[in-house]
């Protein structure tokens, strides 16, 4: 950045009038002195004065200790207006000024600094926190390397449409920044690293610019579709005293944007199609942002007596409702409305990773002529590079709009559009679905009973033993990573929005542990009981977040789905070996080389214990599982995190 106050140029670095620069300067000066004498000639420009020569080639003058309010104190004033409760963060020098202001000037409140041992953990915590609370957190990351650590978690947040406010410290001024390590950690444009998967970014060059951009980035992140935002914050700007340049600094007031609702013409057309459909189906992924969204979806589904396929990006629709149905109901649909789907193509088409040559092929899952309606706010923020927008699906009505904000108008339009003479048929449709729902529920329980007493423990047994221990709590399943055959969503009576927070979004492994801790932090303050189904591979990406949970007394029950491998990859390698008629090489493991996490088996319970958790395991006998979880629940209710290491079946 270029300070507007010329006096600041020298004052930028109080500690770093470095010897390294002085050394460079002494090697330059003698050349000027040794230049051969030349006849006097008319110069094309005035020669530099001695002062200019010194400024350009000499050692920067040691700055005086300037008085005044540090810029970073003003930044804390700005941050505090947005009521950000926590700041999970891995400390770094490029934001030392803001760090110091937050904990000393700001009193370490709103936000409270929370020590993280990895930037990915910090962003993952913010991700989980938002989904449990509806409130965003901010984090600070070190210019280049810290942001590189954070980037996968930012991508997950982007794909999951979750706001995270990321501020990266960066030393922009090459003449005055510390040489050596801090310069390795600086870049012209750190935001470029994550620009493809953030909603907005900026690099403020003055305190007032910071104030405007910070409020803007908060508002942008919190406007549906939500998403992460990024600010590169110059280290010098943080450290300099505030100079008001004749105008008093101000903090812009935050006024939230309204969510973008669908065009009324498109809403009415969608209502007409749904009202006249014989077999309408509602498919939802991240449609319900709040409990209000869940309630609106119930109203829509009951009005139509239409089955709802919940793809579980969020807890969109109560699992206890008879209209909650499995995905195969779309095969008979004549109209499908998809709301906030991450992949509409994948809803109506299948991809089989096989075929005669093992190359894979596509196939339709729906009847010819089925009409498709889409309400999807992500259309408003589609970018080019990363392919999270999935394959292109032609639809008959497309509303680039927020589903939850559009639902009230759609419901009202539907009430008008349903002809009186169709109401009996619609009610009859509901009765048919109610019977199918009861049968389906029994079939799920029959499937869960198979291998009930198996060891390693079946994922159905794992799921129900957990539920049996927490069913009387105000529970929240904050994450379920590693794939337990979707049993919680099939068996647990979820009807509240916070009872299932969805998955990572971008399927970047390593989300589950930090997101669980972040969500448990939010749930702690809201009086809820947090439980996660924690997979082995996911935990080992950045297990240090366990320490953060213990440090800040974040109560979380983590029950491990420890199948001792990267199981998705286990199956991929087996698949490829089969296609090629080769016996897969497993060396001494149970799974193909490169996919097993065994020999030695990781003692996750000891890992957790070492970081301050109550822990138990490994549990391999299903008969011992219930008692262990019960013990752990008591620990969590006392305000501590607890982990049970359970050896499970693969899926």
């Amino acid at each position: 950045m270029t300070p507007k106050d010329p006096g600041l140029k020298i004052d930028r670095r109080k500690f770093l009038a470095g010897a390294a620069v002085a050394g460079a300067a002494t090697t330059v000066m003698p050349h000027a002195e040794a230049a051969p004498s030349q006849p006097a000639a008319r110069p094309s420009a005035l020669p530099p004065s001695a002062r200019m020569v010194a400024a350009e080639t000499g050692t920067p003058e040691m700055p005086k200790n300037k008085q005044g309010k540090p810029g970073s104190d003003f930044m804390v004033d700005v941050i505090k207006t947005l009521d950000i409760k926590y700041l999970p963060c891995n400390a770094a020098s490029s934001f030392r000024a803001l760090h110091e202001s937050l904990i000393d000037y700001g009193g370490d409140k709103t936000p409270q600094f929370m020590t993280c041992l990895h930037e990915e953990s910090a962003v993952g915590m913010a991700h989980g926190y938002f989904k449990a609370s509806g409130k965003p957190l901010m984090t600070l990351v070190h210019g280049t390397v810290g942001l590189q650590h954070a980037s996968m978690a930012i991508y997950n947040a982007w794909c999951d449409r979750v706001p995270v406010i990321v501020v990266g410290g960066n030393d922009l001024d090459a003449a005055y920044r510390p040489p050596g390590v801090p310069t390795f950690h600086s870049a012209q444009d750190i935001n470029a690293l994550v620009r493809d998967f953030t909603k907005w970014d900026d690099t403020p060059v003055s305190p007032q610019h910071f104030a405007q951009s910070f409020v803007r980035m908060y508002r942008t992140a919190m406007t549906p579709p939500y998403g992460p935002v990024m600010m590169s914050l110059d280290a010098g700007l943080q450290q300099e005293p505030v100079h008001e340049m004749g105008e008093k600094l101000y903090i812009p007031r935050y006024v939230p944007n309204s969510a973008p609702a669908g065009d009324m013409g498109a809403v009415k057309e969608a209502a007409r199609m749904l009202a006249n459909a014989e077999r309408p189906v509602i498919v939802v992924d991240r449609a319900a942002r709040t409990q209000k969204g869940v309630d609106l979806l119930v109203e829509l589904a009951e009005l139509l007596q239409a089955p709802v396929v919940d793809q579980q990006g969020r807890m969109n629709f109560p699992k206890t409702h008879y209209l909650n149905r499995p995905a195969n109901v779309i095969s008979t649909a004549d109209v499908i409305i998809g709301m906030e789907l991450s992949d509409f193509w994948g809803v109506v088409n299948g991809y089989v990773d096989n075929g005669d040559h093992g190359i894979g092929f596509n196939e339709s899952k729906i009847k010819s002529g089925t009409k498709l309606i889409s309400i999807n706010s992500v259309e408003l923020i589609t970018k080019a590079n990363y392919q999270d927008f999935q394959r292109f699906q032609v639809v008959d009505v497309s509303m680039p709009a927020d589903a939850e904000a559009t639902l009230p108008a759609l419901i009202e339009a539907l009430k008008v559009a349903i002809p009186n003479d169709r109401k009996a048929a619609i009610a009859k449709r509901g009765e048919t679905i109610r019977k199918a729902s009861a049968e389906g529920r029994d079939n799920v329980r029959k499937a869960a009973a198979i291998a009930w007493d198996a060891s390693p423990i079946s994922t159905a047994r794992l799921t129900m033993e957990i539920f049996n221990a927490i069913k009387n709590e105000d529970w929240s399943l904050v994450a379920s990573e590693g794939n337990v055959s979707n049993w919680p969503n099939r068996l647990w009576p979820m009807d509240k929005h916070y009872q299932w927070l969805g998955r990572s979004g971008g399927y970047g492994v390593g989300y589950g542990a930090p997101a669980s801790v972040g969500a448990a932090l939010a749930n702690r303050d809201l009086g809820r009981f947090s439980v996660s189904i924690q997979s082995d591979g996911d935990l080992m990406y950045a297990p240090g977040v366990l320490w953060t949970a213990a440090k800040y007394k974040i109560p979380l029950l983590a029950v491990m789905h420890n199948n001792r491998g990267y199981h998705q990859e286990v199956m991929h390698i087996q698949r490829l070996a089969n296609f090629r008629d080769r016996v897969v090489n497993k060396a001494s493991d149970l799974s193909p080389i490169g996919t097993a996490i065994e020999g030695p088996d990781i003692e996750y319970h000891k890992l957790a214990e070492s970081m301050g958790w109550w822990a138990k395991g490994p549990i391999k006998d299903p008969a011992q599982l219930g008692a262990a979880i019960k013990e752990a629940v008591a620990v969590v209710k006392s305000g501590q995190p607890a982990l049970i290491n359970v050896w499970t079946q693969p899926r």
């Binding site: 329980r445 291998a451 198996a454 060891s455 390693p456 129900m464 009576p493 199956m571 799974s591």
Partner: protein, 121 residues
């Protein structure tokens, strides 16, 4: 791997079994269990053949496996989600043993006899 096998719960019966419509041949459920693991069948179907809504589309191999002829034809020639196991990588004897293992897996409890499931709405 060896520690894993200790925990298999199903009774394994080494026996001569009769498959299919009158076709008689010897097969070992014990060897079949080992082959079920070493050939990676467990990866999608679970160690007890219980299947998964995610990895086997809900298909359950045991108890009550499908007729052997259907089983063999599917394993050898599938071109759907499951990759084929041709004879180059899975011998006929091993496949028969695997089938014997699947047949040996006893039926578990009914969900109606499991309070966590039967009392769960």
């Amino acid at each position: 791997m060896s520690s894993m096998r200790v925990y298999f719960s199903s009774a394994v019966v080494a026996a001569s079994l009769i498959f299919g419509a009158g076709a008689a041949f010897a097969a070992s459920a014990e060897k079949g269990k080992a082959a079920f693991v070493s050939n990676g069948c467990w990866q999608c179907h679970g160690f007890d053949g219980q299947g998964s809504a995610i990895t086997s589309n809900g298909k359950v191999l045991a108890p009550d496996p499908m007729p052997y002829e259907t089983f063999e034809a599917f394993v050898r020639g599938t071109n759907r989600a499951m990759p084929p196991y041709r004879e180059a990588i899975l011998s006929k004897v091993d496949l028969e043993d695997i089938y014997a293992y699947l047949q040996s897996i006893p039926a578990g409890k009914s969900f109606k006899d499991i309070p966590m499931l039967s009392q769960h709405e």
